[in-house]
Symmetry: C2
Subunit: 439 residues, 2 copies
């Protein structure tokens, strides 16, 4: 499927009027600095200008391309596929109006024409795809930063919202695929593909239901053996399952069966949208972490909140060795607590954070670190951020800089240093819990 | 305690060098447009300039004021209280170095001097207080917008972080008090005070432990009978309780006892920091909501997620009357789902949202509404925000505009209209669950 996510050429079909879907996708592809050939196609011809570049709109596709993106009225899609079939490897069908509104026959026809030419289909009724490392933004959704997360979403709207919120959360993406009605390619195909994609460190999957349970289990087990697969299942409750059925037409089935299957396959199921972000952030940074956590903080209260949540989630407060405690005691002010959670108190600076992290990190009773910083009055949070980045520590370090606007600069420094921030002590603790599931 | 939260005059004691704590508090008070008298005091005298105003620093306090804020070295605090006792009603002692570091004797002395003069003490070892509607920002913490939440925090750092994060969440505050060692006034006093404060619609309390359980129960029951009291208890786990003991010196005691007590008193216990925000936001808007929820969305997936969470939290998907369904059917496009969750599909505009909200709101089988908007491509989210604000509906409406940057403008319109946004469907569902506890 590299022709979808790392294409060297793409043809777009639809209206190129300002604001039309094909126009918006064209703009995204151009503004995203796609380096391959871009061919807009519409029987009316003409030209279209986007982002300072002018494209001739061809009246028909007349040369081979890797991928077609199709946003024309549903009823003409099968004929279009038949026409361009010999020239394209894959087609992303954005157009809606197929099985999701009862037009099963039209969808069957689409699949049939695609099969005839050996064209693979994503969609129909989908929001498109991103191959971020191929600089290919083949969707109208907001562009994202390159990184390690591949997002597979049955719901286009959920996917689009998750991309935008992922930007806010500092998540980097390798790919995005909204697969809509899954007339041809489905979640299992994408799981297998991203399992082997070298730019993908973790896979996030939003599903309401799957059609082929055996195939899904096989794909999920394979992908989970290669990298973390984070799943958000919608349609868990009775009413939710009914709503999902009317939304994607998929039988949600008994949630208990899904849950057991996820667990058996080694996937990581999260309970809600925000947890999907937290797990994705954690796994973009680290592949796993042990259960024995050392908490380092400059403020007692948040340290207690982190401790509560860690224990609730089944993690352990690491019991540090006597040597570690003695060493901490040797350089920390007497008011500091050297028990876990380690309280560096409010005037903790660069040096105090850095040396504490390094000392604790060397202790073999410690698997991972949770470092908290509440904005100190006299020390810029950037200093603490630098201490965390520059500390010599080869174990997972999960960071919670608290207080929104007051730590904005520190969080920016962290992100530039490759460390993602978790906004509350509990979200940071939860991140470690997800990581421990792969230990 | 009005002299603390609505003072007409304040004296500050400490160093007024740039960056010193007393200087920072002075700046906050001046920049916060406090309209009463402000008297900086330091034996060295001189002048201090803040925010374009010049203050003479008096060598001693020589006129009566409502409140003193004290940030001088701990060892001289008792003598200072003795000196100014005849002139002040209350004193907020920011200074640290009392019982929290083992100096019980010094704290006893402080209390004794205060009692001698009938002066009430907040602190010592605290971050100060805000009386937001009195424009009195008597703390170095970040200033906040006026609103209905009184935040009482045993931990100063937690309180400070919560104020800053509250700003980001769109929470409005009536007051803030960090009470530190609670040598005199404690959580129970503040609960009782804010229960009767007309500007306070809801109270949020962060505690690690209380010293007088009977008194606390009485205060909590009283406050909960007047308005929602949201509690975040830290030190719930074994290690957390130990950490809390070393942090605030308070015996956290068995969490089970606390939990039962909260419930019995009618308080609303939240599990973590973010939930405190969500509950606070909900109760700043509404005093309660029934369990039968109608979900209105422009996107299937998020509607399913909301439905799942509502049912998991014990709420019910409202069963709308046949009349309501028929009316919805009469004006909604045929692709829309008129079952709950009601899916207005992606091109839902102002009119479709407004009319649906009004129709559903009239149904007596519906207690409350959860309205979701994923940013539509062709319709600005501000339009949807306006529809929600302008819809004629007298039932609680909880809103989830998803997708961070893409709905920023819509969220701003909502906030100006008095409606706070919840960033995920699940957080919105949780807000309704808190509201239903007061039904």
């Amino acid at each position: 499927m590299d022709f979808f996510f790392y294409p060297s050429s793409v043809a777009l079909f639809g209206s190129f009027k300002e604001g039309a879907i094909a126009h918006e996708i064209l703009r995204n592809i151009v503004e995203g600095n796609f380096e391959g050939r871009i061919i807009p196609v519409n029987p009316k011809g003409g030209t279209v200008e986007v982002a300072g570049r002018t494209f001739e709109v061809r009246v028909r596709l007349d040369e081979p391309v890797d991928t077609a993106i199709i946003a024309v009225p549903a009823r003409i899609v099968p004929a279009l596929i038949d026409e361009i079939g010999p020239l394209v490897k894959g087609a992303v069908v954005i157009s809606a109006g197929f099985s999701e509104v009862g037009n099963e026959e039209l969808e069957r026809e689409l699949v049939e024409k695609a099969k005839k030419h050996g064209v693979r289909i994503i969609g129909p009724n989908c929001a498109g795809i991103f191959g971020v490392h191929g600089r290919f933004f083949g969707s109208f959704e907001v562009r994202v930063k390159p990184g390690g997360l591949a997002l597979i979403s049955q719901s286009g709207a959920f996917g689009g919202a998750a991309l935008a919120m992922g930007n806010d959360e500092g998540i980097g993406f390798s790919a995005f695929v909204s697969y809509g009605n899954a007339a041809d390619l489905n979640e299992s195909d994408f799981l297998e593909y991203f399992a082997d994609d070298p730019n993908t460190r973790a896979i996030a999957l939003y599903i309401e239901g799957v059609k082929d349970g055996r195939r899904f289990m096989r794909a999920l087990r394979y992908a989970s053996s290669k990298k973390p697969v984070i799943i958000l299942k919608a349609g868990k409750s009775a009413s939710g399952a009914k709503a999902a059925a009317s939304h994607t037409g998929s039988l949600a089935g008994s949630y208990e069966i899904y849950r057991a299957a996820f667990k058996q396959a080694g996937a990581i199921e999260v309970g809600e949208m925000e947890e999907l972000f937290d797990a994705a952030k954690a796994f973009e940074m680290y592949s796993k972490a042990g259960k024995r956590v050392a908490v380092i903080t400059n403020s007692g209260g948040p340290g207690v909140l982190a401790t509560d949540k860690l224990e609730k989630l089944g993690l352990e407060m690491a019991k540090m060795s006597e040597e570690t405690v003695a060493e901490l005691r040797s350089f920390l002010p007497p008011q500091c607590s050297v028990k876990n959670p380690i309280d560096l108190i409010a005037d903790a600076d660069y040096e105090r954070y850095k040396r504490t992290i390094e000392t604790v990190c060397r202790d073999e009773n410690v698997d991972s670190l949770l470092v908290i910083c509440v904005p100190p009055i006299f020390i810029p949070s950037e200093e603490i951020a630098k201490a965390i980045i520059e500390a010599d520590c080869d174990k997972p370090v999960i960071v919670n800089f608290m207080a929104g606007e007051l730590v904005r600069d520190g969080v920016e420094v962290l992100e530039k240093g490759g460390i993602k921030n978790f906004s509350t002590p509990e979200r940071a603790a939860r991140a470690l819990a997800w990581l421990s599931l792969r230990w």
